[in-house]
């Protein structure tokens, strides 16, 4: 059921908030032991009490259980970023997204597992356990937001807020068969989200259906006075007859087929040559690592988290995957970073030129199909079709399709169009 349908049921007393909450608890009890989607859980008693209050139709998310990736700050629970460095850290404040969701009536079930400091593609670098894929537990759930995707797909919560720096929310969602929206950079406040690469990090939404994603986006969008990069979305003119471009790759025959079916349904589709390249990924790799060394400099063992002499703390507290990324960032000089920024401009220019002629791009989500736990894949390989949207700050929606997922990318602020087409594809798929 969608959130809207649930609210309708709450209203007509066909279902109660506590029933929905206990469904989530049952899913957790049945599958968490296998999946390891969560790091911390909120107190069940307290949640039960909250869910026992009368339904309020004026609160858009009243009674809806959700989870937050553990790199979002929450006062009520420790926020670890899945690292020993912050294993015992309970922040003195809540992230903006947490505040807004709770104000809208949503119930925070817990904090989900992730790759340490959001650096990874399999949620297997977590200081805690590795997260498994609910569709097939021998497979990885993807990363770095594996816990969020697994929790949503398995019904442990109805939606999850994750972060996406180079594909971190979209890739696991695609692997687990869930939906992920990475909005335009600047649409949702990042206040309270531990920064990895602050010019790329984007608060993202993982749900089981498009309607829910749209509803949650509305609740979270807009300025909060604490993040200078967050702005109110300017009005977006929805095209009446969207012109859709599509790019395929070696194993995306499914995409070709989807394009045909959309064409049959009356949409304007044009195949265009793929502009995704490994140069783009190298630039993403350099920029994200360079920014990470800056953003993680604050973990020095003096004020919070793991304490001790700085080199000892950073050696012991950071996981090997984090250290590797920081080492790469530290090895880059300013000139290399500048060169990567030039490539970034190229990426933006390419998309800009494309969106002069078209309203939407349909392309693959994953370059690498879902892999078994223990396989070594890097971001360079996995994020091939995903990172460029972060580099250009553009909105991207990933929806499950056939054996994998497909991605819709649009110009800035075009989330409504992405949802519209995404919804259509979803309906088509289930038809």
């Amino acid at each position: 059921m969608t959130i809207a349908q649930l609210h309708s049921a709450f209203n007509s007393k066909q279902k109660t908030k506590q029933e929905v909450l206990s469904e989530c608890f049952r899913a957790i009890d049945a599958q968490e032991g296998c999946l390891n989607a969560f790091i911390s859980f909120a107190d069940r008693q307290a949640l039960w009490q909250k869910a026992g209050t009368p339904f309020r139709s004026d609160l858009p998310l009243d009674g809806i259980p959700f989870s937050l990736k553990d790199n979002f700050m929450t006062q009520t629970m420790r926020s670890t970023c899945a690292s020993l460095m912050l294993d015992a850290f309970v922040p003195p404040y809540d992230a903006t997204v947490c505040e807004r969701l709770e104000k809208a009536g949503a119930l925070l079930i817990g904090k989900t597992n992730m790759d340490s400091f959001a650096m990874g593609v399999a949620t297997d670098t977590s200081h805690y356990k590795a997260t498994r894929n609910p569709l097939n537990p021998s497979l990885s759930a993807g990363g770095s937001s594996g816990g969020s995707a697994a929790a949503v797909k398995s019904g442990m919560c109805l939606f999850s807020i994750a972060s996406d720096t180079g594909g971190s929310a979209r890739q696991p969602a695609a692997y687990c068969g869930a939906i992920a929206m990475k909005p335009t950079y600047g649409r949702i406040s990042r206040f309270g989200l531990t920064a990895f690469a602050n010019s790329l990090d984007t608060v993202s939404i993982i749900t089981n259906n498009v309607a829910d994603s749209l509803l949650i986006l509305r609740c979270l969008s807009g300025v909060d006075g604490r993040d200078m990069t967050c702005v109110d979305a300017p009005p977006y003119q929805m095209p009446t007859k969207p012109r859709i471009a599509y790019m395929t790759h070696t194993f995306s025959d499914e995409l070709e087929w989807l394009a045909q079916r959309l064409g049959d349904d009356g949409f304007q589709l044009t195949k265009v040559p793929s502009f995704f390249t490994t140069d783009w990924m190298d630039a993403y790799n350099d920029i994200s690592a360079y920014e990470a060394t800056s953003n993680l400099a604050r973990f020095d063992g003096t004020r919070f988290g793991l304490r001790g002499p700085i080199d000892e703390v950073r050696n012991r507290g950071f996981e090997p995957s984090v250290k590797k990324r920081l080492a790469h960032g530290a090895s880059l000089c300013t000139a290399q970073y500048r060169a990567a920024l030039c490539v970034r401009q190229q990426i933006a220019d390419n998309f800009h030129a494309l969106f002069d002629r078209f309203d939407l791009l349909l392309c693959p989500a994953n370059k690498v199909p879902a892999f078994t736990l223990g396989t070594e894949y890097t971001s360079l390989e996995c994020d091939f079709f995903l990172a460029p949207a972060n580099m250009a700050g553009l909105p991207a929606l990933v929806i499950p399709y056939q054996t994998g997922g497909i991605q819709l990318i649009g110009p800035k602020w075009s989330e409504d169009l992405l949802y519209q087409i995404g919804h259509w594809i979803g309906e088509r798929e289930s038809a």
Binding site: S79, P92, N198, M228, S294, F299, F304, I310
Partner: protein
């Protein structure tokens, strides 16, 4: 504190003040500037980097006049403060607070000039309303960079003395550091590039941090703060609100009043004195007399909260000029007026402060003084000139100090001359 997930926010009033400061220091404002991260590890830097403006500051190419010479200001930029390191730990309350940093060119050649330059900038910024200027409250502080070289040779290695918070400290610290560097250089060694602090008690500069190896600050754009974009309109609206600044005020003072350079500086330092002077001068145009009354009496009491009617002040000054009061009796009267709040006329009568100008009485006092001080008179006639003031004093005493001093001196000289030719 640099907790994860926290983000910087540039507050609007900093930008206002920064533009005001730039205009007050005659600099040009860059319409587009941005912020950078300067990375280094130090316990007082919670994020591991400081947000500053490295590549493009918001303001450049200003100047300030010191001792009639033009000192260039190369740049002014906005940045965040570090935490405060104390004996017992680190106080993080200051970390992240915005400040503006004003950098002058290397054109100052003594501790005195450096102190004067600091003082000038300080007075301009206080005048413009950018800062309270209260250095003991941390509103403003100064770092001095210093090097020594032999004339004709290239500039020597420079050291930086940080966190000076008074004009005197600047002067003394420069002298101390000069001494320290001289000792090193004269013994044939080289000066190390270091950061120093000035210790007031021992009057020494003490090296604190080695800056020998150039730190790679890995400057990176601060992407969480959008570019600082200003319009000519923004700048104009601030420019027209600028109050008259010290140099302009001084020029105006000298144009309208008979005051010296130093006297203007003195009045400009205290707003209350300046307005009192200006008000009183509308009733009395004897500016020097007014000035000396203010500095001689009111400065002694630091009359911040003392109210004195400008008309009364003008009246007393006029009486002094008209020889109705001596200068010292004038001061006494002013003090009485302040203490009692009563009218000057009445007080002068009650305390018999009026000057005695009647020749007959004056000559009488002189005669009496001569008669009563035979020994001094004969000393004088025998060549001991220095007893003259004492004889004058004796005459003055006869009149309770109210005699016209000039005339008494005159008459005394006359009488003594008469005696000498007898």
């Amino acid at each position: 504190m640099g907790f994860p997930g926290t983000m910087p926010y540039l507050n609007a009033s900093v930008v206002q003040k920064a533009i005001t400061a730039g205009l007050a220091l005659d600099a040009s404002i860059n319409l587009q500037s941005h912020f950078d991260r300067k990375h280094y590890f130090y316990p007082d830097l919670p994020k591991g980097y400081q947000i500053t403006q490295y590549e493009v500051p918001y303001c450049e190419n200003g100047s300030v006049a010191v001792n009639g010479r033009r000192i260039d200001i190369t740049r002014i930029h906005i940045e965040e403060d570090a935490a405060k390191t104390l004996q017992e730990g680190i106080d993080y309350n200051r970390a992240g607070v915005p400040l503006i940093e004003i950098v002058t060119a290397a054109q100052l050649y003594s501790g005195d000039e450096a102190a004067k330059c600091f003082e000038k900038i300080h007075s301009i910024l206080v005048c413009a309303g950018v800062t309270t200027g209260r250095m003991n409250e941390g509103a403003m502080r100064c770092d001095v960079n210093l090097s020594l070289h032999q004339s004709g040779m290239s500039l020597g290695t420079r050291t930086e003395i940080k966190n000076l918070n008074s004009f005197q400290a600047v002067k003394r610290a420069v002298a101390a550091e000069r001494k320290r560097q001289m000792i090193i250089l004269e013994s044939g060694n080289r000066v190390k590039q270091q950061t120093c602090r000035y210790d007031e008690k021992s009057n020494r500069t003490i090296p604190v941090r080695d800056k020998e190896t150039a730190t790679d600050y890995r400057f990176m754009r601060e992407c969480d703060i959008p570019d600082l974009v200003l319009t000519q309109k923004d700048i104009q609206s601030i420019r027209i609100q600028l109050p008259p600044l010290p140099d302009a005020k001084k020029a105006s003072l000298q144009e309208h009043f008979d005051l010296s350079d130093e006297q203007c500086d003195v009045l400009l330092c205290r707003n209350w004195a300046l307005s009192l002077f200006q008000n009183a001068s509308t009733f009395c145009n004897h500016h020097q007399t007014l000035y000396h009354l203010i500095t001689g009496v009111l400065f002694r009491i630091e009359a911040d909260d003392v109210t004195i009617n400008p008309q009364d002040l003008a009246l007393i000054a006029t009486w002094i000029v008209q020889d109705k009061l001596s200068t010292s009796k004038g001061r006494e009267l002013l003090t009485l007026v302040i203490q009692s709040g009563e009218a000057p006329q009445q007080l002068a009568n009650d305390y018999s402060l009026w000057q005695i100008n009647d020749d007959r009485r004056l000559r009488d006092s002189v005669t009496k003084a001569i008669t009563q001080n035979e020994k001094m008179v004969s000393d004088y006639l025998n060549g001991k000139m220095k007893v003259f003031p004492a004889l004058v004093g004796a005459a003055m005493k006869q009149l309770s100090g109210c005699g016209n001093a000039q005339k008494i001196k005159c008459f005394m000289q006359e009488e003594l001359y008469k005696l000498s030719i007898k």
